[in-house]
């Protein structure tokens, strides 16, 4: 496991960021990463509850869910997927820059990751949710069942409940991640990270990538599997 042999540091010679209860930096790194993953497992279960509910209600009201899915604009969903994957890429590069001791590049990649995160949220809020509001597709905010939806129309509201809860919870995670990235960018610009110590970057990166993975599943489940092909129907 440990690439370097376990050894203790003499008093007063700790490398930057090293907590003295650990044997060495390698053990500290593993412990921190494991703790972060335990937190992410609780996040898997948190989102998992919503995903399980979505699967159950989709199986009970399939035509209404397919109808609701087709009312979403797949172009925004796909564009946002590309943006979010791009932000994961720049996050990975930010950590890589810290590992190789490039302070300026670390800050720049963090800022780029924030920019891409902001673009994602901007598209979500201004192009998608506000459009849904105008179209009366938000449950509780003047939702209107349209006559052309037919018999399953009244159940379409259920799809949109899931849509707003799932994308809303995801967007909340993005906003929190954005705040974490801002703190990291300030820390990085002050030279707090380097090849010896970059655990906050690494663990925040795990969080950011997790949020990306949630979207990787939300995109097909909400936008794609509603029968978008011209012949429609089943």
């Amino acid at each position: 496991m440990a690439e370097m042999a376990a050894h203790t540091y003499a008093e007063g010679t700790h490398p930057p960021g090293f907590a003295h209860q650990f044997e060495d930096l390698s053990q500290q790194h593993e412990a921190g990463s494991l703790g972060m993953w335990v937190f992410l497992v609780t996040e898997i279960m948190f989102f998992g509850g919503l995903f399980a509910c979505y699967i159950i209600y989709r199986s009970l009201y399939l035509p209404a869910f397919e109808l609701g899915s087709r009312l979403l604009d797949v172009r925004f969903g796909a564009a946002n997927t590309v943006v979010l994957i791009g932000s994961s890429f720049t996050m990975a590069l930010a950590i890589h820059s810290a590992q190789t001791g490039k302070r300026k590049a670390t800050v720049n990649y963090l800022l780029l990751t924030m920019l891409l995160g902001a673009i994602f949220l901007g598209v979500k809020f201004t192009f998608e949710w506000s459009h849904d509001y105008v179209e009366h597709l938000i449950p509780g905010f003047g939702f209107e069942v349209r006559p052309e939806w037919g018999a399953v129309g009244s159940h379409a509201q259920m799809f949109f409940c899931f849509y707003f809860f799932m994308t809303g919870l995801h967007a909340l995670h993005m906003v929190i991640g954005f705040g974490i990235l801002a703190v990291l960018a300030v820390m990085a610009s002050r030279g707090r990270f380097g090849p010896e110590y970059y655990a906050p970057l690494e663990n925040s990166g795990l969080y950011w990538h997790f949020v990306d993975i949630v979207w990787i599943f939300l995109f097909p489940l909400l936008y794609l599997i509603g029968g978008r092909y011209p012949t429609g129907g089943h």
Binding site: G48, A92, P220, I225
Partner: protein
């Protein structure tokens, strides 16, 4: 030095593959494959997830204990989904029992 350094080339290759898979899954959604539309969408999503976990999240280079914790998380998620579906999808299999008060009337011989 405390962690594995993944070459930028690998990150770039993973990024390119993820973008290609996003375009693929979007394109496939517009072709009628019947129930395989859902299968394809989920298969591509799982592939993308594995790429992110293994390379961006460095799990390919993580110790066994971390991997075990991650697998346990997904295992519990599978229990959550499977057990919930096992309930909901089988509800129509057996007839609904009569209310207990009716049973009581029948067994008491009053009806």
């Amino acid at each position: 030095m405390s962690g594995h350094i993944v070459p930028v080339k690998i990150y770039a290759a993973v990024f390119g593959t993820l973008i290609a898979l996003t375009l693929l899954t979007t394109g496939v959604a517009f072709i009628n494959l019947g129930r395989f539309n859902t299968v394809a969408a989920l298969a591509i999503a799982v592939t993308k997830m594995l790429l992110v976990i293994l390379f961006f999240m460095h799990v390919k280079y993580s110790p066994g204990l971390t991997r075990l914790v991650i697998l346990a998380g997904f295992f519990w998620l599978a229990i959550l989904v499977a057990m919930s579906l096992a309930d909901v999808l089988t509800r129509g299999w057996s007839p609904e029992p009569a209310p207990w008060s009716t049973l009581l009337l029948f067994s008491s011989g009053l009806v």
